[in-house]
């Protein structure tokens, strides 16, 4: 046993080193909020944020097939279309390389998308390296998502899909995880609109976060796949639509989503309403939001 551990480590280290050696860092920048790295292999272009030593890819693009969504969680976010198949207005918190807004703008020719990104350097890198372009239909707002959501609510705006994907690097913006923020986001949802949040499946935060969503939305779809450490929360204003509606929407979308590598027909059966967390855990609020401290539990 003792001999095996170092061996396993050596193998892992070797794999990690190979992966690293193959990726070339073509751009490195220390922004106000993080260090942004753009890395490139012969097939992949990635944006990574490294807040500490650990790197995590935020956004990757297949150079030869730029449409394909390479991350499981990005593909999972498309499950929002199962609930709201014909959105006219979409709000996305967190730009990254811009793969998600680009894909949605291509898929939905009449859609209007607002993207909120806190870091101007991320926006610049998305434009420079990932071919992301804002337009009349896709607007980027540089600023804090909490402030944007509050102002949009005060203006009485509404969206058909709200996507929360503002969790970069290792640090979690705690004011974007609270029940009050989810209430404000929920207030932006039209009658049959949907909120999709890319969040954590493994950390000590899972129970707290799940309780927070439950406090605000009541029932919600928990969407997890074995291949990913992320989970996507699919929450809506009203009661969750029945499975047959989800399946019908999946069938309608399957062909169009194929070039993006999204196996949407598999998704309806994976959306679960079951409570698989400790309901005794405290929901996060503006008054109590130690998300980063709880993550390690």
């Amino acid at each position: 046993m003792l001999r095996r551990v170092p061996l396993a480590f050596a193998v892992l280290l070797g794999v990690a080193m190979c992966a690293d050696a193959a990726a070339e860092v073509i751009h490195r920048e220390r922004s106000l909020y993080q260090t942004i790295l753009i890395t490139k292999t012969d097939r992949r272009l990635c944006m990574q944020f490294s807040v500490r030593a650990k790197r995590r890819s935020q956004s990757c693009m297949d150079v030869r097939d730029p449409q394909r969504l390479l991350f499981t969680y990005t593909r999972m976010t498309m499950a929002a279309l199962l609930v709201k198949p014909d959105p006219a207005r979409v709000l996305i918190a967190g730009l990254g390389g811009g793969t998600l807004p680009t894909a949605l703008a291509e898929l939905l020719p009449d859609v209007h998308i607002d993207v909120v990104e806190i870091d101007p350097a991320v926006y610049a890198a998305a434009q420079q390296y990932f071919g992301f372009a804002a337009s009349d239909r896709v607007k980027v707002h540089v600023g804090d998502a909490r402030v944007f959501v509050k102002r949009a609510g005060a203006r009485g705006e509404s969206y058909d899909i709200v996507i929360l994907d503002a969790f970069g690097g290792d640090y979690i913006p705690e004011h974007l995880m609270t029940a009050e923020f989810l209430e404000e986001s929920r207030a932006l949802l039209g009658p049959d609109a949907v909120l999709a949040a890319n969040t954590f499946a493994t950390s000590g935060l899972y129970d707290h976060e799940s309780e927070t969503y439950r406090a605000v939305f009541g029932m919600f779809f928990n969407f997890r796949l074995l291949e990913s450490d992320n989970r996507v929360v699919i929450a809506m204003n009203g009661p969750p639509p029945p499975k047959r509606v989800l399946r019908a929407n999946a069938a309608a979308w399957a062909k169009r989503l194929r070039p993006y590598g999204v196996p949407i027909k598999e998704y309806p059966d994976r959306l679960s309403l079951a409570i698989d967390w400790d309901t005794a855990k405290r929901p996060l609020t503006d008054q109590y939001a130690p998300a980063n401290l709880l993550q390690g539990d």
Binding site: L32, Y33, I118, G143, D144, A145, R146, V147, K150, R151, A154, P173, E174, H175, T178, E180, F181, T285, D286, Q287, Y288, A289, P290, L293, L294
Partner: protein, 201 residues
């Protein structure tokens, strides 16, 4: 001797409260103005300005027959000004949010409205404490040095305790309320001791 210990203890509590409140300031403002770097810039600027004013005021107050009782009164006033922060924070920030679009100036205005008054009072503690303990010109530097040491140690502990533990255990409002209660208790103890001590001295 108990007088020296008491004044140092109170200076410690003052330093503790200032930094605990400053850290919570970030939490209080985040829902309205975000947690960008300029929000912290606003908070730190306002605390520095308020402390600067507090030092001047505390120094001036110390000229007029200083007593332990009046020193205690500073804490009581600090507590009474700090507590309403809990109640007024939301409506104040809502008011500012509706009028100032730019979150930089919004967070600055909100910080000014919420944190100047209590921090000015807490800032006046240190120079007043120096005056209470200095007996001769020779020892004045050492007395001031010890008080800075003690109050800055309090600040360090207030920072660490708040960011590592208090936010994990308590709600923000509970922590601010507790700080106010702590200041009130310290002020009352100083006033009580002062009734005997100041008369005796």
């Amino acid at each position: 001797m108990p007088r020296i210990l008491l004044v140092n203890l109170l200076a410690f509590g003052g330093g503790f409260s200032i930094m605990s409140l400053e850290l919570l300031g970030g939490r209080i403002l985040a829902p309205w103005f975000g947690s960008s770097i300029y929000v912290w810039g606003s908070i730190i600027t306002v605390f520095m300005l308020a402390l600067a004013a507090g030092y001047l005021i505390g120094g001036t107050l110390s000229l007029r027959s200083p007593t332990l009782g009046k020193f205690g009164a500073l804490f009581v006033i600090g507590a009474l000004i700090l507590y309403p922060t809990v109640l007024l924070a939301e409506p104040t920030m809502q008011w500012v949010f509706a009028r100032i679009e730019d979150p930089r100036y919004g967070s600055l205005a909100a910080s000014l409205a919420l944190f100047v008054a209590p921090t000015v009072v807490l800032g006046s503690i240190s120079p007043y404490a120096v005056r209470l303990l200095v007996r001769s010109r020779e020892e004045s530097g050492r007395v001031a040095g010890t008080l800075y040491f003690v109050s800055t140690l309090g600040s360090a502990l207030g920072t660490l305790g708040t960011s590592f533990y208090f936010v994990l255990w308590f709600e923000v409002d509970t922590i601010v309320t507790t700080l106010a209660a702590m200041l009130l208790a310290m002020g009352l103890v100083a006033a009580a001791v002062g009734r005997f001590d100041d008369n005796a001295a």
